[in-house]
Amino acid sequence: MKLKLFLIGVLCTVLTASAQTMKVVQGQVTTLVPSASVGDIWFAEGGETFTVQNNSFSTATVSEILFDRSEVQPATLSVNYQDGLAQVTVSADIAPQLAIRVQGAHVSVLAAADLQQEVNYVLSGSSANGSFWMDGEYKATLTLDNLTLTNPDSSAVCIENGKRIAVVLPAGTTTTLADGTGGAQKACFFINGHAEFQGAGTLNLSGMTKHAYASDEYTLLTADFGQLNILQAVSDGMHVEQYFQMDGGTVNIAGTQGDCIDVSVTKDATDEFNGQAFVNGGSLSLSVTADDVKGLKTESNLTVSGGSIYALVSGLGTKGFSVGTDLLINQASGQTTSISMDVTGTTYMPGDAVLESKCRGIKVKGNYIFDGGNISMNVTGKKAKGISCDGTYTYKSGTTNVIPE
């Protein structure tokens, strides 16, 4: 078996080593052309242009063409940030359908409407004055590979593409994004479509103008997800429309002036699970310290079927959970549900008929069903309460321990 694996390894090495790549360099953008896919590279217009794999280049704008034995990943655009510059490399198979602009370390990519394959955008390196903006009409993958990026003027990463965006954090990597103060951006990291986070790496976000993270459609953290740390936000830590689903990973949110996680409905009332949140696994830590904000706020239902949730609810008028309609807490098969909170806040704007808000561990505007798991709360704030339900409370199973009762 060992010999077999060795031989397979040798074979892979041999095949990898056999690749040849032509690199057409135009300023900060390099187009990668694998030799295996190239036919004749024709010159035209008296040698002023040449064309390779549907990419037409002007010899006046080509800095150089380099050749080596590296391998080209198809359908991939990579950005490597190096202080005030960004170097972009793009595989030739998709380059004709991507409009790429680079100014210093600010990169924008507009994918053509007729692009019908998924592009992997891989971001790495470091810049204190850079950004990445992308739009398109086909689903895409965004790989954050040890990226440290701050944009003093707007979002650090802004994905206007409204389709499914797979956000990959490779294992062992840490990506840190921050934006600047006083901008007009919605978030430091914004995704217009629906986002699916995967990979065992770590993502740190700071939102200095508004939200740290925002998506205009659902956000899903897959079971193999690593860690998301919201370090600070002028408004919400995570502002998610349609629904939020956490199947695994670790999410730590602190330093927000708005809600830690705010899930709101989209403009299309027919959207699936609109305004809901699901916690099916993982570890969620919410530090609810600002006044009159929520740890996990949903405009519609909240379902907790697994995972471990801790909330420090210390601001005036704060809530650990604020559920717009119904709350279901249970334990899915093979899962353990554990919710613990320290509720130390008191009333916000007491006596104000409009603005008064009381501190609660869990506030449910609809019905509440408890069918498994463990809830423990330590309530010490003046006039604070552990759980408040405006609708019907149904107990089926599980343990609730609120001190004092």
Binding site: V10, Q20, V38
Partner: protein, 143 residues
């Protein structure tokens, strides 16, 4: 055992694929002249209306207006002239099984058979040969 044999066959197949490695880039002009350069460390730039190629061992410079195309190739496939005369400054031919050239002393001269193997410059039997002199490659016929 059978699995190991199959793996070995796969390995041999892989090595066969490697043999298809495109180790050369060939520049072809509008009049059909071809010059091949090894791709390792090859760099092409455009300046003063010329294409300049250099890999540290071989170099070539072609007027852009004369360029037809370039392509990857398995072997140096340069064609200077079937008769053996290439250009005004560099002449090469095979006479009586020997390579004759006016290349300067100390020039890098290598002769390959069509199978890609390097051969002697002095005992060339009838057949087709690829001759690389200082980075320029010529296809010659020995009678």
């Amino acid at each position: 055992m059978k699995h190991i044999l199959l793996t070995c066959l796969g390995l041999l197949f892989g090595l066969g694929l490697q043999a298809q490695s495109y180790d050369y880039l060939t520049l072809r002009t509008l009049n059909g002249d071809e010059t091949s350069l090894g791709i390792d460390n090859l760099r092409i730039t455009f300046a003063d209306g010329k294409l300049n190629a250099d890999n540290g061992r071989e170099s070539a410079s072609v007027l852009l207006a004369d360029m037809s195309c370039m392509f990857f190739s398995l072997q140096p496939t340069g064609i200077g002239s079937q008769a053996g005369l290439t250009d005004a400054s560099l002449q090469v031919r095979i006479v009586g099984g020997r390579l004759i050239t006016n290349a300067p002393a100390g020039s890098s001269i290598r002769v390959y058979g069509v199978d890609g193997r390097q051969v002697s410059t002095t005992r060339l039997t009838a057949g087709t040969y690829l001759v690389n002199i200082n980075g320029r490659t010529f296809k010659l016929l020995a009678k």
